[in-house]
Symmetry: C2
Subunit: 197 residues, 2 copies
DNA sequence: TTATTTACCGACTAATGGTCTGTAACTTAC
DNA sequence: GTAAGTTACAGACCATTAGTCGGTAAATAA
């Protein structure tokens, strides 16, 4: 690799990436409260001031980490679900994929535990809506255009479903034997929707 | 009111009560992060040291506030639900009562938003299980002894149901017109349980 | 080549959670 | 009733930490 003259954008980008990576690791492991700006900066090989140059505050850094994590999760779920044929099957498959993804305590800490408290309910909700909820809604739209669902349920359904899914993930983490019961419950919620559709 | 010689227990009790009241108010209004120990102590007419004499830390104070709030909510819901005849009706009635109770932003902030982040997931879960979940489970037990439910669902059901309920409350707060959809969804979850029971 | 902007550092400030020491009021032992 | 012990606080102090403020060196624009 030639010693290339580092452009500012490159430096900036790689610094940001390092900060996001370190932030994800530390926030995810120790939680927002127990992680100091200094810790994150140090883990990214930088001073606190450097970090605050890229992100205006600790909360702003967390928000960026949170949004990245949300994107990652949704992409993963969507990719897995895409393999299933038909919207109903994709819903069920996606649910299982998210149950798996939320096994990761880092993901849980960031998206479900610290998220609402740090960002505030309103912003948390907004970001969730743009990612997770949007995926569910899109799948339901597909279902309708496939003809397997006549009336599109309101946003409340997607949220309640996703919330039950989150909680199911927690239940499974505490007691793995609950997984079939959780999946059954989710399938029933989905099924009920498609029956009456 | 005669100037009674204040016993220590009386002083202590009223001080604790004042701190809990002030804590609920401030934590509920501004969130845990934005509330200082000093603020709470001052609002309770006391110094920071006084507060820390009664509660070993800021988190300990929050935990006490949280648990009190949880008790309050459950008592309120249980009292309302008790009027309905039959376990299934009590479930549906209780769900509506909680939707109403969670209209209060103070209750929401404390129990749903700050709770998990401040107490940590494990402790939050444990306290929730002792109150909210316990009420649901008890009602389901009643249903079985009434004969309207043969197989008792596992804890996962109660949690997922409660979680959907919480989320439904949020949806309604954002858009009141969603209330019927939310209630329908909850009733369906309950109904599905009793049908197959 | 000069001027400006950008990435970053070190020193400082302000706020805050928690500790330590002291004191007055209450309580228990005698 | 009084001495000894305990309890409910207050105030001073300490350590951590989020965020600000110059300053410097590298990169970019003029």
């Amino acid at each position: 690799m030639p010693a290339e003259k580092t452009t500012q954008k490159a430096r900036s980008d790689s610094a940001r990436a390092a900060l996001l990576k370190a932030g994800r690791k530390l926030f995810g492991k120790n939680g927002f409260l127990s992680t100091s700006v200094n810790d994150v900066a140090a883990a990214a090989g930088m001073s606190k001031s450097g970090l605050l140059h890229h992100f205006s505050s600790k909360a702003a850094l967390f928000e960026a980490v949170f949004e990245e994590e949300e994107k990652r999760l949704v992409a993963q779920v969507a990719a897995d679900a895409a393999e299933a044929p038909g919207a109903e099957a994709r819903m069920k498959r996606g649910a299982r994929a998210l149950l798996d993804a939320l096994n990761d305590p880092v993901s849980r800490q960031i998206t479900l535990i610290d998220g609402p408290a740090v960002l505030g309910w309103t912003k948390w909700r907004k970001i969730e809506a743009e990612h997770g909820i949007a995926l569910i809604q899109a799948t339901l739209e597909e279902a309708r255009s496939e003809g397997s669902l006549s009336s599109l349920p309101g946003a409340a359904f997607s949220r309640m479903f996703l919330s039950a899914l989150h909680e199911g993930a927690f239940s499974i983490i505490e007691d793995k034997s609950q997984r079939p019961a959780v999946e059954a419950m989710l399938d029933q919620m989905i099924g009920g929707l498609f029956e009456q559709g």
